[in-house]
Symmetry: C2
């Protein structure tokens, strides 16, 4: 049997941010191994497939990952169309490489179907581009979470060097992110946006400054969230603070 | 009339990497202003819309951008559903912010429909994840192209600080990219991949080392291309060099 494993990006949350290609692969799927956060409507496209929830929200450990790898290989020996459905894009923070390596070693063909990553969804939610002519031409996607046994690498360097940074899986680490970045010389007044549940009905956008990040993060719930940092957000952040403070003089002059 | 302008990501090239939401917006569109590189099949979804090609490949100047902004505003005054269809994701290297600012100033509602960006498509084409546990947890998306009148900003800092870098619109600048990065201390042996026409039938993936980037770039054609740099590519690059050199001793032992 010429089985194939498709590593498919489910997109950032909303079911209609799936690609047409991903939908067609799901329609043909015999079995789907999916992340916890994939929308039920997306899974429903895989009408005739067995669905198996794998993966935890964060802190998924290596043992669990090895078990997923084994499940994919076993499934490819019994089915023609195996789908590994991941939130966002498979090739960003999705542990796809471990699955690709396992499949390759087992001689099983794979194909990656790219998806919309959370950074783009969060940027759309805020209504502010991650890049901007004359202001920002580097956008760095980062996670501060280290794997078990992984050496502490220098994630903060990427934030400091980039014009815009998007931090994945960092909302629960806001205090340490803020402290680390301030210690590295990032200005406390750097504009930030925290986007929770991007593209879902429960979507929330919170704006502020880096020094306030721990306080902002306390306001968000348990949904998946990304943090955007950078000067591109300055206008949006200032407008919010202006609205909150309700400066009547500027109101008269400007609104 | 309650007009709305949709800034829609058309994805990286292949028509079926459009999102379901983008397809539904296109079906309802009265008028579509699209980038030169959008697939004809994608435009065909906008059955009842007037289609207007705007934007040049690269080096599109500010005058042209101001004219696009004006066209969007004028269209929103005559039509209910106006679409600005951009290659990739609108919020990455798409000059969306200039359009958003113009629309906001004119009091016109807008919505961003995110898309699959070229970095994810290129990563899928190579079959190597941009991030990898224990090796890469920062992926920096960059363009070395400066706008007219824009101060030369420090794009190279982002590449050097990130574990993985993806350079957009840089294939024609390979010599200067290579020289700049080597001068900044990036190792000449850093693995690179150049992906031309990602997701299209003419897709090509070229692998090598940073020091060979100018030579590699000579091999690619006029299609849109991105350059990926980083240790995540090491195994893929070594395997290619191994195949090309055809080391018989390692062959006997390993294949």
């Amino acid at each position: 049997m010429s089985a194939k494993v498709y590593l498919v990006g489910a997109g950032p949350g909303a079911a209609d941010l799936l690609t047409l290609r991903a939908a067609r692969v799901l329609e043909r799927a015999d079995i789907v191994f999916h992340d916890a956060l994939v929308a039920p409507q997306t899974l429903a496209i895989a009408e005739r497939a067995t669905k198996i929830a794998v993966g935890k929200r964060s802190g998924r450990n290596s043992t669990a990952q090895r078990f997923i790898n084994k499940q994919l290989i076993d499934a490819a020996r019994r089915h023609a169309v195996v789908v590994r459905l991941k939130g966002g894009d498979p090739m960003l923070f999705g542990r796809a490489q471990e699955e690709i390596d396992a499949l390759t070693k087992a001689g099983i063909e794979f194909e990656v179907v790219p998806g919309v990553t959370a950074a783009c969804a969060a940027s759309a939610a805020v209504g502010v581009s991650l890049t901007r002519r004359g202001m920002a031409r580097t956008a760095c996607l980062i996670t501060p979470r280290s794997a078990e046994g992984e050496p502490e690498n220098d994630w903060a360097a990427g934030v400091v060097a980039a014009d815009t940074a998007v931090i994945y899986m960092g909302a629960g680490l806001s205090e340490s992110i803020c402290a680390t970045l301030l210690a590295r010389g990032q200005a406390g007044g750097t504009p930030v946006a925290v986007v929770e549940n991007a593209t879902l009905p429960a979507q929330r956008v919170l704006l502020g400054k880096l020094r306030d990040l721990p306080r902002i993060a306390q306001e968000i719930g348990p949904g998946p969230a990304v943090i955007i940092l950078g000067e591109v957000l300055r206008q949006a952040v200032d407008a919010r603070i202006f609205r909150e403070k309700g400066n009547p003089r500027r109101c008269a002059g400007r609104m």
